[in-house]
Amino acid sequence: MASNATIVSKQNKNSRVLTYVLIASLVIMGVTVYWNWYAPEQDYWPQLVGDWITIIPAVAAAIAGTLLLRQFERGEKPRAIWFWLAMGWWAWVVGEICSMSYDLFKLPYGDISVYDFFWVVGYLCFGLSLFHQYRNIYSSKRKLGFIYFLIMVAIVLVTTLILTQWAIAAGLGADISWFALYLAVFYPVCDLAIGATALWLAFLFGRGAWGRPWWGLIVFAVADGINIFLWIGGDKLLPEKVANFLDPLSASIYNGGYVVAMLGFLFILFLTFWASVSASGETVEPTQ
């Protein structure tokens, strides 16, 4: 049985770790913001530094997600939620590393690249994670079968198809293949679908710690939303200064998505760490 002193020391350690993590997050975000605005205008190494600035928080988010996953035993319902969410982040980590490798080895970016595979896998994993979370909330009323997930996937694919045809009709993507354009439209559609679903979860969970890992997906949706706006020609509607501001802003928010996801995982993780030291009835007060 853990003594009160052990619990207090564990809580102190947890809050120390959380402080270090918060400081590290601020440093990462500071470097990100600085680099996105003030990186030297050269082709090779500034690009690589930018890649690493993205990979570090991505790995941190995936590790935090995996640590949280390990707090749940096989067969426990929340395990599926965190399994797929952690897998999603790992898929994106591999995608980021692939992207960095293209820059490192100066490989030409084709219409479709290897990392596209990992982005798509990541989106699928996030979708599955969200599906399990919704099923966990609403299953007491009715059993949400896997068929609902397939229907959602079908809706996303058909919406992407419609928008791709609309983009072609609007003269967008004339220099890339049909499939590359389909994929380019697929990402924002997924961002919108996943971001909106995550936003709904964030509202549902309110101030509860359980909703925080989803904030990362919302931040990504915002970053990609700005990107898409610029991509579809929004930059032409704005003064040049504003358009020039939005581009690095979007890149910084993108990295912020990883940081927010990592912090969200850690909030729940610390709650479960305290549980493991409270053996039988000791006072263990989670603070928010």
Binding site: Q71, F72, E73, E76, K77, P78, R79, N136, I137, S139, S140, K141, F203, L204, F205, G206, R207, G208, A209, W210, G211, I268, L271, T272, W274, A275, S276, S278, S280, G281, E282, T283, V284, E285, P286, Q288
Partner: protein, 316 residues
């Protein structure tokens, strides 16, 4: 003499006058003890005074085949001697509560049984009759009470005392029920606080179990465990004999009025909702409370709602 919980180790037998009895009663009150005084006031009459957490919750006159509720101040009136045989037993809250509950009802019948097998046959007959009430069992090595609700033993509402101590498990007690014993059947009286408190307790425990099951499904064992630890610490601080064990709310507190029980349960559910809300947020918490409430039987919902224990009480 000594009709209840004869195997209890925490008992005293003495001959005493009314003033001796009064000083012992004062000790029970001061130390907030639950238990019972059995006073052999006349050869065929025993006066019984039940204590719950230091309060005199009920007084009764017992005769071989019936009993009568009296006021605690009537104890000692009509003794046939200056000094009488007195037995005082300090009991766990739930044992004292079960005894009080039984004596608040009227004796329905008495029955001899030859062992566990006959006892089981008796329980089967209660099931087929759908009996609701208290059954007192007194055998050589074990005695106790079972509350039957619609013919079935209500979970957590049985208590037995054997040489090994108190247990709530009939299976554990069965080993001591092999000798001849006597059953006293008390039919539940819906008008009594004892019955209403029991229904409220069972409904509260049923609702709580559903809430905790939902919460466990949503966040897993570890976060349920930390919530239990927090809530148990709060309950301990309030000197409440209620605790959480996994998905069960175990109420061993001796509430002799529904009003007091409802107040304690409302505080408990408010604290529970707050702790759950910290993890899954207020909206989902309220949703769980509301959904699980409506999954209860209508009779349980009515009991809870009558005692201001409905989800609307927590929708803040």
């Amino acid at each position: 003499m000594a009709p209840f919980f004869r195997q209890s180790i925490d008992q005293q037998r003495f001959n005493g006058s009314r003033s001796t009895l009064d000083s012992h009663r004062a000790q029970f009150r001061q130390n907030q003890i639950s238990g019972v005084f059995e006073i052999q006031s006349m050869p065929q009459e025993v006066e019984v005074l039940v204590f719950g957490g230091g309060e005199e919750t009920g007084a009764y006159r017992l005769w071989p085949s019936s009993h009568l509720k009296i006021t605690p101040s009537e104890i000692g009136i009509g003794w046939d001697r200056q000094e009488v045989a007195i037995r005082s037993v300090a009991l766990p809250d739930q044992a004292s509560r079960a005894l009080w509950q039984a004596l608040e009802y009227q004796t329905f019948s008495k029955k001899e049984i030859a062992g566990v097998d006959q006892f089981k046959v008796f329980l089967k007959s209660c099931f087929s009759e759908g009996m609701t009430g208290m059954v007192s069992i007194a055998s050589e090595l074990c005695d106790g009470f079972i509350f039957l609700h619609g013919g079935l033993p209500a979970p957590g509402e049985s208590i037995f005392c054997s040489p090994e101590g108190f247990t709530k498990s009939l299976q554990e007690a069965e080993g001591f029920l092999n000798s001849t014993g006597q059953l006293t059947i008390y039919k539940a009286d819906p008008a009594t606080q004892a019955y209403q408190c029991t229904l409220l307790r069972m409904s509260m425990a049923g609702w709580g179990k559903r809430i905790l099951t939902n919460y466990k499904d949503m966040v897993g064992q570890k976060l349920l465990h930390i919530m239990n630890a927090n809530l148990n610490a709060i309950l301990l601080h309030r000197q409440s004999n209620i605790h959480l064990a996994d998905i069960e709310i175990i109420d061993n507190h001796f509430f002799h009025e529904c009003r007091m029980a409802a107040q304690a349960y409302q505080t408990l559910f408010t604290d529970m909702a707050q702790l759950i809300g910290r993890v899954i947020g207020g909206m989902v918490t309220r949703r769980i409370m509301s959904t699980t409430f409506h999954q209860l039987a209508m009779s349980e919902q009515e009991v809870l709602a009558t005692n201001t224990l409905s989800p609307s009480a927590f929708l803040r």
